[in-house]
């Protein structure tokens, strides 16, 4: 503590010199010692002190000189420069505030967005040597991500050569912790080789053994860090404890690391062995669907690996029905790509936007510093005349820029942290890894470096201008190069903001199209409730059916409820059943000879589904309540499926067998098309199977749709109450249909909002720079304006004269910006929805908006020029 205090004191005295008390005490100590010596030599105390003072010489003078030494040293030190800079900045508060804020906005937005993008694009995955990890599988119309099937997977595992290890998992399944305070969990089934392939181990305990990954082996599980904390109070002795999962005992053999994540970034509370018997899978076709990951052998590239598994793929392809083969492909790609798929593009766009933003901010700071240098030309000339070397002046200016950039950096980091917080809170769930984004050391360092480099750069530039005798005389002859540089900077800024604005405007149009498109259904006054029943109590379809039927009856009795329908999925997006077209047998027709025919979406629904969502049944009739008790099966097809399946025929009354085996369904009607591939995805033909009062039609998952005359929020609460009354262990998720739909636009909304924010901030900064430049020109030409006015120029003439300077800059900047944006727009075209990247309306809007803002920034100082009094202006010469 004392050492710290001494260190601090030394630092302070180094900055500001010693205090008066310090010097006094030091000198008086000396005199006291001399006095003692004199007394020892035989003098009286009074005489001794008098002699001591005399021999010392002037105490006052010495004290003065001690302090002067510090001041003199400071003149030559960085500290001195810094003090001088701070004093200078304090004298020009407007300049300081604007510059620091510009810096801070630039650095803050850069840091925040970089922190977000960094996680997505550059951060390494949390596995050992993650660059060697790949996702392996086949791509087929049935599933957008590459996958593998049980029967071929084990063949691959035996015969593959390019991978050090190949592993797989079977996805997330909900499971129940059936103990006191039952809990719904996400369980992931993985192979014993799963964690070793990723190169990670558990925090506590051990991984599964191959023996434990066999069917009928005693069940063992690894639990997540958060489950360990919340359920077991982070008790280290949890390993070996037996818990009850879906009513069966399972032994905890380990706890996963805090930062553990699945290769797909899905959430899992429990890892359990998939316990699949390879032998039974080899015989089965297709076997269990699974997702495979592999670690490349050293020196093997992805291309080589792809080529090496190609023969295995061909082998597998031979077992695929010939008509589908063309649509099945092999895919081996880096794990990172598998994780991030479409987020990558958005991340690059954001990164581009942020770089432009930083450039605008830096240009602004540069032009502000240049302006300040111009204003202080005379001061520099005087210092130079008094003997300051150019190096000395340059050092002074650099110090000043550094002071500004460091201050800007500090404020910028605060802004960055706040912005990041805002981003995270407004961001949709779909942005991967965003929840974990934080301002980290590297990002902060990046910001500091950026600010230091620009500080030094902009500090030196003005110092390079040699002061001359004219400036000493106080004439306003400012280097032409200075003004030229600022003009170029302003043009660059305007161009960059045009690019940003154009991007934002395209995104906005795209968002507008997205939200305004017809969904083919109504969302008004609809509340949805998604329920997933537990395996233990609802394992039999009969149990699930009973539950949902009871719930349906209860909901119908609620006040204000008009319609209750039960489905297992909902448009416009998210999960729904999928099958291939070729998998539907049509009565009286052979199966198609080639091709899968593409994907067909389908749902289980109760009769009122169509009236609840207001989907018109355009031909035939909707399902009726009495159909629910029929022993026959009924189906309704969408218009697009009918067009495809029965061109120029009446589909009503036809019979279909959707699974190639099993029951036949009678087509009773044709429903209008509804968006079902998300807001941006391609629409799929669709059919609806009637969910009858038969256990075979029911599963553990269902979504209830309730149309209410009351406020949705009230109805949501009532629905939850009813579910709890039936079974308080069943989790239910309610939301209004409009919330559901708007969630699909969250991501584009987020991107559009960010880009607009950048665009407007950029324009604002460019406007500030333009305003500053025109004001400066007005001041510089005050005398000229005075002369012109004295010679009879009207106010209009003067405004035109001054404004024309700005108009040229705006026109040049806008032109360059628009051309750049036209080329750059191709990069964003992939994320645009029904907007061409060359959309004229968007670009026109941008040009207009910019013209207005920049025009105002030009006109204000130009108008001020008219207030010049000719006499005053002339007298100044």
């Amino acid at each position: 503590m004392a050492r710290h205090a001494a260190g601090l004191r030394r630092l302070l005295s180094r900055l500001f010199g010693p205090t008066n008390g310090d010097v006094d005490e030091e000198l008086s100590y000396h005199i006291a010692r001399q006095t003692e010596l004199n007394i020892a030599a035989g003098m009286t105390p009074e005489e001794a002190e008098r002699q001591a003072l005399i021999s010392f010489g002037g105490v006052e003078k010495a004290r003065e000189e001690c302090h002067q030494q510090w001041a003199a040293a400071r003149m030559h030190s960085l500290v001195g420069d810094l003090q001088y800079a701070v004093r200078g900045l304090r004298r020009a508060p407007a300049f300081t505030i604007v510059t620091v804020l510009t810096f801070a906005i630039g650095i803050g937005t850069t840091t925040a967005v970089f922190s977000v993008v960094d996680r997505i694009l550059f951060r390494s995955l949390l596995y050992y040597d993650a660059s060697r990890l790949v996702s392996v599988g086949i791509v087929a119309p049935i599933e957008p991500q590459e996958f593998m099937l049980g029967y071929s997977y084990y063949e691959w595992q035996d015969h593959q050569t390019p991978f050090k290890s190949l592993t797989s998992w079977t996805g997330i399944q909900s499971c129940d912790l059936t103990e006191r305070n039952a809990l719904r969990l996400a369980c992931a089934g993985v192979e014993a080789s799963f964690l070793p392939t990723l190169g990670i181990g558990p925090l506590l305990g051990r991984n599964f053994t191959t023996e434990e990954d066999r069917p009928n082996a005693p069940k063992v599980v690894l639990i997540s860090y958060s489950l360990w904390r919340s359920r077991h109070g982070a008790d280290p002795s949890v390993v070996g404890r037996v818990i009850s999962l879906d009513g069966k005992p399972a032994r905890i053999i380990g706890v996963l690391n805090k930062d553990f994540e699945l290769p797909t970034l899905e959430h899992a509370d429990v890892l359990e062995p998939e316990a699949i018997d390879p032998a039974s899978q080899r015989g089965a076709n297709p076997g269990r669907v699974r997702w495979a990951f592999a670690r490349l052998k050293p020196g093997v590239s992805i291309q080589q690996a792809t080529a090496a598994v190609e023969p295995l793929f061909e082998q597998m392809l031979a077992t695929v029905p010939p008509q589908f083969r063309k649509e099945v492909h092999l895919r081996v790609r880096p794990l990172r790509d598998r994780q991030l798929h479409d987020a990558k593009q958005a991340a690059w766009i954001l990164l581009g936007a942020v770089v432009l933003m930083l450039m605008i901010a830096c240009a602004n700071v540069a032009s502000l510093l240049l302006a300040r240098a111009a204003a202080r030309h005379r001061e520099m000339a005087i210092r130079s005349a008094l003997g300051a070397s150019r190096l000395r002046i340059a050092r002074q200016l650099v110090t000043e820029s550094l002071a500004i950039s460091l201050l800007g950096c500090a404020v910028g980091c605060v802004i960055g942290a706040v912005l990041l917080h805002v981003f995270i809170s407004i961001a949709p769930e779909g942005v991967p890894l965003l929840q974990k984004a934080h301002i980290d050391l590297r990002v902060a360092l990046f910001a500091v470096l950026a600010s230091l480099v620009s500080g030094i750069l902009f500090g030196v530039a003005p110092a390079m201008q040699r002061p001359n005798a004219e400036s000493l005389a106080g004439r306003n002859i400012i280097g032409v190069s200075n003004t030229r540089a600022r003009q170029l900077l302003v043009i660059g800024q305007i161009a960059a903001s045009v690019v940003l604005l154009a991007g934002a405007s395209l995104m906005m149009r795209s968002l507008w199209n997205l939200e305004q498109q017809p969904l083919g259904m109504s969302t008004r006054q609809l509340v949805t409730a998604s329920i997933s029943l537990g395996e233990l109590h609802y394992g039999k379809p009969q149990q699930a059916m009973n539950f949902f039927q009871q719930l349906e009856a209860r909901l119908r009795k609620l006040p204000g409820v008009e319609i209750v329908a039960i489905s297992d999925s909902l448009p416009p997006g998210g999960w729904h059943h999928d099958q291939i077209y070729a998998g539907i047998r049509i009565e009286g027709r052979p199966l198609p000879a080639a091709g899968t025919g593409g994907r067909i979406a389908w749902r289980w629904v109760t009769p009122e589904y169509f009236s609840a969502l207001d989907i018109p049944v355009v031909q035939g009739s909707p399902f009726s309540e009495s159909d629910r008790n029929s022993s026959e099966h009924f189906i309704i097809v969408s218009q697009s499926l009918a067009r495809y399946m029965f061109p120029n025929e009446d589909p009503v009354g036809r019979h279909l067998q959707p699974g190639l085996e099993g029951p036949w369904y009678t087509v009773v009607g044709l429903a209008a098309d509804v968006k079902n591939g998300g807001l941006t995805g391609a629409e799929e033909p669709e059919y609806y199977r009637l969910r009858r009062n038969q256990p075979e039609d029911w599963g553990r998952n269902a979504t209830l749709i309730v149309k209410t005359a009351f406020a949705p929020a009230t109805t949501e609460r009532w629905i939850r109450d009813e579910v709890v009354t039936l079974d308080n262990a069943v989790p239910v998720q309610t939301e209004t249909m409009s919330e559901r739909v708007s969630r699909f636009a969250d991501r584009p909304r987020f991107e559009a909002a960010l880009l607009s924010f950048f665009g407007l901030a950029g324009v604002l900064l460019a406007a500030i720079a333009l305003y500053g430049l025109i004001s400066f020109l007005v001041v510089q030409r005050t005398a000229e304006i005075g002369v012109r006015m004295a010679l009879g120029a009207s106010k209009g003439n003067v405004v035109r004269l001054m404004a024309s300077q700005g108009v040229g800059l705006i026109a040049a900047g806008t032109f360059i910006g628009l051309v750049t944006a036209l080329f750059g727009a191709r990069a964003v075209s992939a994320v645009l929805f029904q907007v061409r990247p060359t959309d004229p309306l968007s670009f026109l809007t941008v040009a207009l908006l910019l013209a207005v803002i920049a025009g105002v920034a030009t006109c204000i100082p130009a108008l001020r020029a008219t207030s010049v009094q000719p006499m005053d202006a002339l007298r100044r010469e």
Binding site: R10, L27, Y29, A32, F56, Q69
Partner: protein, 110 residues
Amino acid sequence: MPSESTELLQGTLDLLILKTLALQPMHGWGIAQRIQQVSQELLQVGQGSLYPALHRLEAKGWITSDWGPSENNRRAKFYSLTRQGRKQLGAELKNWKRIASAIALVIEEG
């Protein structure tokens, strides 16, 4: 006090202070005493210039100071050489020797 004390040559005071402090940290009084003693009372350090010199050297970062108890248990300001000061001492010593030998050459020539 001997009357035959010599005025210090401009700039040599810094050298003497640095050299003295190279032995051990010392307070101003001690430095003055030590220079007198070692020079056999030939060199008189004027206190009026000693303290400004100490502060100048400290401001330049060649020496640093700390308050501590002195021999007679009073609070005194002790100066010590910094790493930079040690380097400076080497440079100044070399410089001094060069000047001294140059002067000697000129004088002995005459």
